[in-house]
Amino acid sequence: MTRILAIEDDETTAREIVSELSRHGFSVEWVADGRQGLVRAVSGEFDAVTLDRMLPGVDGLTIVSVMRNAGIEAPVLMISALTEVDERVRGLRAGGDDYMTKPFASEEMAARLEVLLRRARPQARQTVLRVKDLELDLVTREVRRGGRELGLLPTEFKLLEFLMRNSGQVLTRTMIFEAIWGYHFDPGTNLIDVHLGRLRRKVDQPGLAPLIKTIRGSGYALNATS
């Protein structure tokens, strides 16, 4: 079972994290104090860590940099009430893998953690991504479904690559926007939906089993089982 360490001093937030991650089938250990959190984090017993930026005792930034210096490579999702862009940069520079601001939607937190876990999992160097009859060649940059070339535009290619690398995983619009375009604001409108819609028209042509699924109130998933 995947083990998660949640370092969070606010009890309500902590309970939210624990229950959401448990629902996703993780075993979660909660630590409220920075000093103790640091000790648990460097123990190396965990597959991933959710880390509050501001903690009593030892600060979140210190914990993540100590972890990295100690050679602990488990992905760290930083959660902070500090919304400033500089804070995000600082968190990621210290060794965090992703940065969320409070308040957050718990399912997005879980989704982000799953993406981090998947990225951290040792993978054979793939040049071709495969999901069912969908094939994406990272070298030739060709995408085929059932052997038929789909002719994706560069953005569509990046989008599909991201979906395929995280197939089965719910990806929120914010996560998609951050991953593909690299910006961290709320683009509003149905901007991401439009891009997904275009990709879907090419990937899920009439007569084929739909691969890109819209998860109501949340985002998208490729080849989701549920």
Binding site: E16, T83, K102, F104, Y183, G197, S218
Partner: protein
């Protein structure tokens, strides 16, 4: 604003009034001196006239003409006048040939008027025991001399007072005027909305400093109130986001657990949508304050505007197309500026997003990068309904929605975010008429440089 003029300053007016009062004082003083001197001199001359009349009376009547001749020859200054007249007024002796009509024969000196006499001359006429009339006059010409002197003094001192007063007034006004101009210059940014600017004060503690101090205190209060109003919004947004996020989480869970056939599904989706819209609005409010709070240039780096424009058209092209709009990006030449790339992208994204939102199907949106002498200019032009001139300032404020934008979705904060980004960069953001449509101009060079 009107430029202050030197003759309108209080100092100058004070100098003028002071000069006038001083001149009046000088006139009064000289007048008093003249009057007192005249009284004194008249008295003196009267005594001389009486004395001489007495001396001549004591001379025997027969010797009188001879005596008068003698005295006349001794009078080198030609100040004495004598006349001896018979009972019926015929001349007998003396240098006065005719008895002046206005001198009564009573031995009392009085003023002697008449041709050949200076003003202030005194004379008396007296009947001798013989019945003849003795006339004695004295005209020292002192009083008229004094009058000339005083008049000349008045003219010269008056001219001096006027010249000195005017130049002193002007000189004294220059200092305050210079400071008022400094205050005026310092107030320009405040008028432009920079509530953190203050008026300059010196350490003289004079009335200008007092006024500037009062104005500065008022500005402190205005700034404090503005921040209070702003932070109320921010705090409300901040405090409401947490419970809203929890509410959304609950709704989401209910939505997940509801079966596909559930009749409440549509309502649940609507509730989720509304909650998301609310959250989006609060996020935007916080975002504006966050941008406003950002330290200037903290995230600044070289930004290639052409690449930015390409990214935007890549991101928004499909959206515009889905709305039945044509989207085109024109970049004249590569431009590199110092800016916060993320924020600039966010601003452009909001502007293009707005254009897509408000342009009706069939319209066109153009994103242009133009290179001007001062620097690069970004233009977003649509042929939608545009924004009436009267509303152009207001739409940059928080929450404002144009009359024809009421039904469009969104937080109504997009342009405020753009304005905040422009403020941070000190770029000029302006809305123009594209007839028809709206042209949004973002001048990517510091406004401060244009002055």
């Amino acid at each position: 604003m009107r430029r202050p003029e030197i003759w309108r300053t209080t100092t100058f007016r004070l100098a003028l009034v002071y000069g006038a009062v001083f001149a009046a004082g000088v006139v009064a003083l000289l007048g008093l001196i003249y009057a007192s001197a005249a009284v004194f001199l008249t008295h003196q001359m009267d005594e001389i006239v009486i004395g001489q009349a007495r001396a001549l009376q004591s001379v025997p009547a027969a010797a009188l003409p001879e005596q008068m001749r003698q005295v006349e020859t001794q009078d080198v200054r030609n100040v004495n006048f004598y006349g001896l007249f018979s009972r019926d007024g015929a001349w007998i002796a003396g240098n006065v040939r005719r008895l002046p009509a206005d001198v009564p024969v009573n031995g009392v000196p009085r003023e002697l008027r008449g041709p050949g006499f200076q003003p202030g001359a005194r004379a008396l006429a007296e009947r001798l025991p013989s019945g003849d009339i003795l006339f004695v006059g004295f005209d020292a010409k002192t009083l008229s001399g004094l009058r000339t002197i005083i008049l000349a003094s008045l003219i010269w001192s008056g001219a001096l007072i006027i010249i000195l007063g005017l130049s002193l007034g002007a000189a004294l006004s220059l200092g305050p005027l210079r400071r008022i101009r400094a205050v005026q210059a310092a107030s320009l940014p405040i008028l432009d909305g920079d509530v953190s600017a203050r008026l300059p004060t010196s350490n003289r503690r004079d009335e200008i400093d007092m006024l500037a101090g009062i104005a500065n205190n008022m500005m402190d209060e205005v700034e404090r109130l503005l921040w209070a109003v702003k932070s109320v919004g921010d705090n409300v947004a901040h405090d409401l986001r947490t419970p809203l996020t929890r509410l959304r989480a609950l709704l989401y869970r209910v939505r997940q657990e509801a079966g596909e056939g559930d009749t409440h599904l549509v309502m649940l989706d609507q509730a989720l949508g509304e909650t998301d819209a609310l959250l989006g609005r609060f996020k935007a409010i916080q975002r504006i304050s966050e941008i406003d709070r950002r330290e200037r240039r903290a995230g600044f780096a070289d930004v290639r505007l052409q690449a930015l424009v390409e990214e935007i058209s890549d991101l928004y092209g499909p959206l515009a197309e889905d709305h039945g709009l044509t989207f085109s990006a024109e970049t004249e030449a590569p431009c590199v500026i110092r800016a916060d790339r993320e924020l600039l992208f966010e601003a452009l994204s909001n502007l293009v997003g707005n254009a897509v939102k408000f342009t009706p199907t069939g319209g066109a949106i153009r994103l242009k990068l133009v290179r001007l002498n001062e620097g690069p200019r970004l233009e977003i032009i649509d042929n939608g309904p545009g924004v009436p001139e009267s509303e152009r300032d207001a739409v940059l404020q928080r929450f404002y929605r144009g009359q024809n934008g009421r039904e469009a979705p969104g937080s109504g904060l997009g342009l405020s975010i753009v304005a905040a980004v422009a403020r941070l960069h000190d770029f000029r953001l302006a809305l123009d008429d594209a007839s028809p449509g709206l042209r949004v101009v973002l001048d990517c060079w510091p406004v401060a440089m244009s002055y």
